[in-house]
Symmetry: C2
Subunit: 335 residues, 2 copies
Amino acid sequence: MLQVLITGGAGFLGSRLARELLAAGQLAVGGESAAPIAAVTLADSAQPPADLAADPRVRVLRGDLSELLAPGEAGWAAAGTADVVFHLAAAVSGECEADFDLGLRANLRATESLLAACRAHGTTPVVVFASSVAAFGGSAAHPLPAVVMDQTLPMPQSSYGTQKVMSEYLLADYTRKGFLRGRAVRLATISVRPGRPNAAASGFLSGIIREPLAGQRAVCPVAPETAAVVASPGRAIAALLCAATVADATWGDGSPVTMPALTVTVAEMVAALERAAGPAAVALIDWVPDPQVATLVRGWPTRIQADRAAALGLRPDPDFDSIIAAHLAETQGSR
Amino acid sequence: MLQVLITGGAGFLGSRLARELLAAGQLAVGGESAAPIAAVTLADSAQPPADLAADPRVRVLRGDLSELLAPGEAGWAAAGTADVVFHLAAAVSGECEADFDLGLRANLRATESLLAACRAHGTTPVVVFASSVAAFGGSAAHPLPAVVMDQTLPMPQSSYGTQKVMSEYLLADYTRKGFLRGRAVRLATISVRPGRPNAAASGFLSGIIREPLAGQRAVCPVAPETAAVVASPGRAIAALLCAATVADATWGDGSPVTMPALTVTVAEMVAALERAAGPAAVALIDWVPDPQVATLVRGWPTRIQADRAAALGLRPDPDFDSIIAAHLAETQGSR
C-alpha cells in the first residue's frame, strides 16, 4: 500500500496528477511492481478542489510548505512515510522577480526542507521534482545555444530559474548520497494551462488561447514572431509519472531530465486558435508589449533536443492544434 | 577608507590575503581608484595568527559563520559596512563527505546568510567567492570533457562541489538583481598549501611535497600517474585580488570564472621534489592507495582552458619546480 505526497497538490498540475493517481488506484514506483495507493497527501497553501478533498484517500495539509516541513510538523511526517513525493510547489517566475525573499523561501528553502525531511526518516523515497526550462536562461553576454539539450549549461536569468537549478543540484547530491531517489524533470511552459491566470511570466502562453476560447479578452505582451517551447498538461503529467515509475538504472543518475516540448511561435499559436474558434476569437487578443516579460522570455530556450526523455519514451505534442483540442475536451469535461 | 571582510580569515589563504592587504595598505575595489584600507575583519571559527590579531587595523570575529551572520549579529553588521568581502570560509571536501549536515551548514547556509546580510544593508559590496574546480565533477555516466572551460556543465560528485555550485548560482542571481557585485572564482587545488594537513581529499597534493621537505613522512593515496590541476598559494591570492579589483564590465556577468592551473601528474610532482631535495625526500612518501580519495579525485578536472581568467591577465604557474621554490622561500621567510 503506497503513500503519495504531492506538494503544490492544490495547483492545477498537482490536482490533475492526484486525480489520475486516484483513478488508477495503483502505481509502480521506481521500477517496482504496481502497488495499491493507500493515501495521497496534498500539501499546499491553497485549498484543493472539492472533488479531491472529498475523496477518503486524500489527506490535505494546508499551510506554508517550509513550516509544514519543519521537523515534527505534519509535512515532515508525511515526507517520512511517503513512498513517492511529487514536489510541484513553487512561487512562479513573475512573483519571484517581484519578491526575492518569497522566491528564496518558497522555492529554495522549501526544497531544502523537503529533502531534509525525506532524509531524516531513512526511507529513501522516489522524489520527483518539477523543475523548469527557465533553468537554462542565457543572456546577451552568454546566449543559449540554438538547441538546448540535457547537458546544456544552465545560465538562469531569473530568480525562479536560479532556485530551480540550485534545487536540481541539491536533489542530485541527496541522490548520490543514497538519501533518496531524486528525479528532476525540467518542464516546458504548460500550454494551455486551465483555470485563472497566475503571475508566471509565461502565463500569456496559455492566456492568449484560454481566454479567447472562453469569450474573454487576453493580453499578449510579446511580438507574434516570439518562439517558445510548450507542452500540454497531459504531456507534463506523463513526464512526471514516467519519472516516478521507471527504475533507477533506466532513469540514469541524479542530473535533471529535460522534457520534450513543441517549438511554436505566438503567431502559430494564434493561427491554431483561429482554426479552432474563428477570427472572432483572435480579435479578443490585445497586443500590448511588456518589455519586462519580453526580457524574461528571451532567456528561455526555443528549441529542445530532449535525448534522455526520448529514451524514456516521452514525446512532445505533435502540433498546437492538438493541444487546443485537448484543452477544449478537458475543460468541457470538467465544467 | 575601505572596510574589508574576510570569512575564513584565520585560514591559510585568508591569513595570507589579509597580510598582503595590510602590507599594501590600500585597494582599488571594483575598478574604482585605490583607497586606504581602514580595517580588515577576519571572521572564522578559529583564532587568526598572532601577527594579524596584533595589527590595530584587524578586527577578529570568532564563531560559527552562520551564527555570526544572523541578523543583528557582529558578522551581519560587518557585511553591512564592508566595501569588499572575500568569502573563503568552507568545510572541506573530506569533511563534507563524512558529515553531510556540516557541509550544508558551513558551505550552503553560511553563503546564503552572508549574501542576505550584504543585501540587507543596501551597500552593494564586491563579494569575491572562493569556489572550486571540484564544482565540475563528472562521473562514469557523464564524464567531464578532456579540457574543462568556463562554460563546462558542472556535474559535482561531492557534497562540497555541489554546495560550491549552488553558491555560485545564488551569487550570480544576487548580482543580476543588483544586490551586490559577485565574483566567483573557481580555485584549483592549492599546492603547496603550508601548515598542517586538513581533511580536504586533495590534501595529499600538498602533503607529499610539504612533509618530505620538512623531513617528515607523507602518505600518497593515489597512483603516480594521477593527474591534477594545481596552483600555488601566490596564484590563488592573485586570482582573488584580481576578482576584487577589476571593473564590473571587465569581470563580465555573475557567472563563475575558472582560474588557470598547472596540469601535473603526481609522478611529475615527485620528480620536482627530488630535484629540489634529493632522493631522501622522495623516500619519505608512503604509497598507500585509498579508493575513496581516488574516486573523489577522478571527479576533478585534469586540464583547464581558463579563457576568462586569461583575458583578466591571470596565468598558471609555469611548472612544479617553481611552485616548490616559492613554497621554500615563503616558509623559510615566515618561520
